[in-house]
Symmetry: C2
């Protein structure tokens, strides 16, 4: 049997309430008791639906990221398939930056909740969303310049979108600056021809 109507209604109410509270107060100033109260629902309901604090945050994040994930997989270029790797990478970084900027509080809450998880040394790298993004960026880098350590550079680029840094810059109104620098960085990396320092320097160990 499908989900009961009241269950669906309550799940929506919880997501909505959580979203609102998270926006109003800062990260970590929202307890699940409060979310439940704001949603007009018992605390037990919240846990039955989402399993844990992390689960709730993950649901919220996924909700925001779905559109972009789909655009990447099958939308029109340059975000979707079809454009050259560098252009796709830049489009992806722009889109992700925008997403991260618009949802700092939420993402911070998610990342923080995650590090509290008991089982599984869960880090941000373990989240399905991160893995998908990492794979995508990694592929693009490898296509553009196979000599690079695409996997690692992908981690580094995505690291720039870590909630910490984005929040830090947002507080100073300098988030486009990050977007711009990222574009330049990506361009330099992918267009540096093989044989230049990047592929050979520092092999001292």
């Amino acid at each position: 049997m499908a989900e009961r109507a009241d269950a669906t209604r309550n799940r929506r109410a919880i997501l909505l309430a959580a979203e609102r509270l998270l926006a109003e107060r800062g990260v970590e100033h929202v307890s699940l008791d409060e979310v439940a109260a704001a949603a007009g629902v018992g605390k037990g309901t919240v846990f039955r639906r989402f399993g844990s604090r992390t689960g709730l945050m993950q649901a919220l994040v996924d909700q925001r990221a779905t559109a972009m994930t789909e655009a990447v997989a099958g939308g029109p270029p340059p975000l979707g398939p079809g454009a050259p790797p560098l252009e796709r990478l830049i489009a992806f970084l722009d889109a992700t930056m925008e997403l991260a900027t618009a949802n700092v509080a939420l993402i911070a809450a998610y990342e923080h909740a995650m590090t509290n998880e008991e089982r599984t040394h869960s880090t941000r790298q373990a989240s399905p969303l991160y893995q998908a993004w990492h794979q995508h960026v990694s592929d693009l880098i490898a296509q553009a310049n196979p000599e690079l350590d695409s996997e690692l550079l992908s981690h580094i680029l995505l690291g720039s979108l870590h909630s910490d840094l984005v929040r830090h810059l947002l507080l100073r109104g300098e988030s486009q600056r990050l977007a711009r620098t990222l574009r330049q960085l990506a361009t330099t990396l992918l267009t540096t021809p093989p044989g230049t320092p990047l592929a050979g320097a520092g092999e001292t160990e």
Copy 2:
């Protein structure tokens, strides 16, 4: 009057106990009650000495980082003053990577505790240690290539040393890989001559 002898003794005992427990159990599996008990001290003492969980973690981190900070400020080149910027930057990244690798658990505990702080939207960027390091890296970049957004690139480079990523790589035994890639990245950035894509691309907004 200077600190009383028993106070000093207890502070040492607390730091020692915390260090040990943190190494034995993972991050976030050590409560301050336990630290106090292991140090043979009351919980009140822990708080009087360090103010909060974050304070204790910070003290531990500072303890580990002091040697390196001094080497950077006044030690022999290439870590200390005297060597060309790129060499200093590489030496610094190597040293920091080593530090980060050897103390992942501790640093993770510190960063995590920090995001729980009530007052002051404290992020990792707010810690004095991070600020000092950021300033240093930023200066080196600016010296080597004034056209770059040194401040931001410094954040990005330091972001690669975030406990999350380091832990992720350590679990796979691939931390030297990060060190190597960072060296290459730094080299590419600082030796890319002005006028190439890095300083001009992506100005679309």
